[in-house]
Symmetry: C2
């Protein structure tokens, strides 16, 4: 691990950085120079002036995503600010290009004021085909995304919210396929009600799961804590997405439940708690790098299917399964919004990469290196977008 | 020409667009994924959090320039807005990469309010090693550049102002070398007092030219029109950069002068006017695509040295000679500002690419494809920056 840390530093130092901006055209002669720049670049400029939509025809906009962060909630590191967030955003841009041939440019902002961020992104929008918000703390990320979704004519996606919820849904679909359980009848506990947890609850609710219970720093989610919650958690209660519970602790809440989804903190779940759940429970313990319960403990306590955020255990719930194909699909369709239907289509596409007969306790999630993932996700999303 | 216009449209349509964002690292295995992104991208993030300057060590920032426009003064097309400006900014990014291996990313803004533009660029600065402002109308471009130069810790450059003035100075240096004239003693008329003209005047003044006269839509520059000028032209008078004249027209102003520099409009100079100038005058008629006087007319009227903005005549005053090497030098030196000394060093470097014995009336400016240009300009600028 120390070795991997050093390897990462060396890798980042060598270029330095992980992205570069290349030309797709040659400029080796005076004629080429005159076509690419002055005077004949005036032609596409004129065409776009006449017909704004031609910006998709003559520029890179249509395949260009902005990966934008304010550095307020970076990985597990917290509020590290824009400069420290830059290697992460570059990494995201690398994944967009590598997995989906989508061009993505990392932008880190020197402000954490949501109104300023909204204003900046609004004014940057003409350059991009889509906006991927990243590592912005809750609930600002929700305010920013909602506002931009309403006002911009290009798709806006906050990966920490929606990427995670798509892949979690994919995992749950396959856990149910493997065990012949009915997804909508599952009783689910979600620990962590920030960007990821709140949106996982919403997407599960959308596909018919009606018993979803929440747990957060305030305790078990109920109206008792209502005034302590930010607006996003209040809405989850108001809209009936989360079912309030009068359990006094996570320990009592988790009893007899079928699924535990953790996007919170390490070691908050014990073996005894897993043993108190319904038979053969699903445990998605995604806190990174240390999950809510160690993999082996969950296994020993009788968890049927275990997913984590880590690549060194089976069933990694990894956003890279979702966002590259999702954006490829919406960009191709030139969709103005990313809808719940597209997210559900993406989750199903990820899940059904694995055939019935291939499904196993430790193989409910395909590998991000499975080339079919991006193809199937983008196809599914494109179909919904153009329907 | 119709043919070239069609060629340009086809070239822009084929990719579409002219830039792409590539990864400099491979991601083909789980290990590589873990180094480039979660979890080990946390290492450079942590290092930068501890030492902000490490952002240059571990990210692409240090070689990354933002090419930013509000679309308010694009080429000769005017205020075409951000989307129509995008092919031009992509073209600029292509030239940065092709000529100097500097990464540059095109950003067009959906606002033309200078305060908003300043705020946006300020907040974008952490992602970039330098800012190249482009095709922003005067005098806003001057306000924006001045403010950002004061507040940002990375170099800010408005190419329409400074790129043009550097290459014009290079041309003038060589015209003097060839004719054994003393640069500082030249009497110069500048037609057009916007972004380019104002800054050409400033740079010439800086190197000792004390007789510079202006001409603009208001007429010959004098205190008579003071109230009609924007602040940038008023300053040129207040600071003694421009010498006021009581000539009633360009025709009378140009009489007996040594140099005419046009960054204004076509066909405002006649053969008779050139004939009225001092013997063997220098005519830099840079209005694009149609110069202030047709090349042949200037020649016939006795102009000794003629430069234009066009690539199909000798001595093209082309900004591409300056900005790639200039930025390469300042980025390498990690200079916080681009100073007049650096601009003068760049101009001299461009000029002295051509040896004394090679200089000719129709060869005072090197070709942009001369590989020595970017090398010499970046070296000269680097030396000044690190002095």
């Amino acid at each position: 691990m120390a070795n991997q840390k050093q390897k990462s530093l060396s890798l980042h130092e060598q270029h330095p950085g992980k992205v570069e901006v290349n030309s797709t055209v040659k400029v080796t002669t005076q004629e080429e120079l005159s076509l690419v720049y002055s005077p004949y670049v005036a032609e596409p400029a004129r065409a776009i002036k006449e017909n704004k939509d031609d910006v998709y025809k003559y520029t890179s906009k249509g395949n260009m995503v902005a990966v934008i962060s304010d550095g307020s909630a970076v990985l597990g590191l917290g509020n590290v600010g824009p400069k420290a967030a830059l290697p992460v955003m570059e990494g995201k841009a690398v994944l967009f290009k590598t997995f989906a041939d989508v061009d993505a440019f990392p932008l880190v902002l020197d402000t954490q004021d949501p109104d300023e961020i909204i204003n900046i992104i609004t004014n940057l929008a003409p350059s991009f085909g889509g906006i991927n918000l990243e590592d912005i703390s809750a609930p600002n990320c929700i305010t920013i995304e909602r506002t931009l979704k309403k006002t911009l004519d290009i798709p806006v996606f906050h990966d920490d919210q929606h990427g995670t919820s798509i892949v979690t849904l994919a995992a749950l679909i396959n856990a149910c396929r493997l065990t012949d359980k009915d997804l909508s009848k599952l009783h689910v506990v979600i620990s962590g009600l920030g960007a990821a947890g709140g949106n996982i609850a919403r997407l599960l609710h959308k596909v018919g799961v009606s018993n979803i219970y929440g747990y957060s720093l305030e305790g078990v989610c109920s109206y008792k804590h209502y005034e302590d919650y930010d607006f996003s958690v209040q809405e989850l209660l108001d809209e009936g997405v989360l079912t309030p519970s009068d359990s006094s602790s996570l320990e009592t809440l988790i009893k007899d439940k079928d699924v535990f989804i953790g996007v919170s903190a390490k070691d908050i779940v014990s073996k005894a708690m897993i043993e108190s759940m319904s038979k053969n429970p699903f445990i998605f313990a995604m806190a990174n790098p240390d999950p809510e319960i160690p993999y082996k403990d969950a296994k020993d306590a009788g968890a049927k299917i275990i997913g984590t955020g880590r690549s060194d255990y089976p069933n990694q719930i990894n956003n890279v399964l979702a966002f590259p194909g999702l954006f490829k699909g919406v960009l191709k369709a030139r969709a103005k919004n990313i809808t719940d239907e597209m997210k559900i289509a993406a989750a199903k596409a990820i899940a059904y990469i694995i055939e019935d007969k291939e499904l196993k306790d430790d193989y409910i999630i395909p590998s991000p290196f499975d080339k079919r993932v991006v193809t199937e996700v983008s196809k599914a999303v494109y179909q919904v977008a153009t329907k």
